[in-house]
Amino acid sequence: MTAEELKNLKSNTIVDARGTACPGPLLAAKKGIGEINSGEIMEIYSADEGTKHDIPKWCQKMTHEFLGIIEEDSYSRLFLRKA
């Protein structure tokens, strides 16, 4: 998805993992995904650089669809659609 499309996405849930380091964002993602339904969209906030590599890998394994990243000043917003 392009940055424009991502910006217009409506997330069903937002998980703020900015206060955690590895494996915090991953654990937050696992917890968050349990709270939404299949096809719904989750957004993860992370200030951890590694998360940008970890979450797409995790999505691949868990068969969720990784939609993309929006970079903010001090953190990233990662979007995914639950399988």
Partner: protein
């Protein structure tokens, strides 16, 4: 010829399903080290695997068993050697030290400060998370006996069993990943 091929395919299918049934989406790890850094690494990998919906089984043995002692519990009736070991070894995950650069404890307290600053959870927090994620901790009975630890002095942890090497082996045999730390 075609019958032969069909037969071979059937045979292969059978073998593949046997293979698939043999290994689970499971991680088995031996946690041998009693060092802060290594136990932290073990717990990060373990909780990460749990986020991958893997079943995780940790086998705590030798020096690592000391990290599972509860500093608030005391037990009576230990013999001299058990008391000595009990005094010499760290009492709980809050007392374990770095494997390198400990420098009489200065390095360990420094790294704890840096961990806090970088928002890395402490070992105690990691154990709590591991428990919430349903990670199993198996404690080697032989190690506990050697060091004179009693089961009454170990931490309260939801999925904790005291067992032997056979438990680890049967878990490891059916795991996709096996690690030793």
């Amino acid at each position: 010829m075609s019958i032969d091929l069909e037969k071979q395919i059937l045979e292969l299918k059978e073998r593949i399903s046997k293979l698939e049934a043999g290994t689970k989406d499971q991680l088995s790890m031996v946690v041998f080290s009693g060092d802060l850094d290594k136990i932290l690494a073990a717990l990060i990998i373990a909780t990460g695997a749990a986020a991958y919906d893997m079943k995780v089984k940790l086998f705590f043995t030798f020096w690592a068993t000391a990290a599972l002692r509860d500093p608030e519990k005391t037990v009576q009736g230990k013999n001299f050697m058990a008391k000595m070991f009990g005094m010499m070894l760290p009492k709980g995950s809050g007392k374990v030290k770095l494997s390198k650069m400990n420098m009489c404890g200065i390095g360990t307290s420094m790294i704890k400060g840096i961990m806090k600053k970088n928002k890395v959870p402490s070992l105690q927090e990691m154990f709590r998370t591991a428990g919430e994620l349903g990670i199993e901790i198996n404690i080697c009975e032989m190690s506990m006996n050697l060091m004179g630890f009693k089961k009454e002095e170990m931490i309260d942890y939801p999925n904790k069993t005291i067992c032997g090497v056979a438990t680890f082996l049967s878990d490891a045999q059916e795991s996709k990943i096996q690690l030793f730390i």
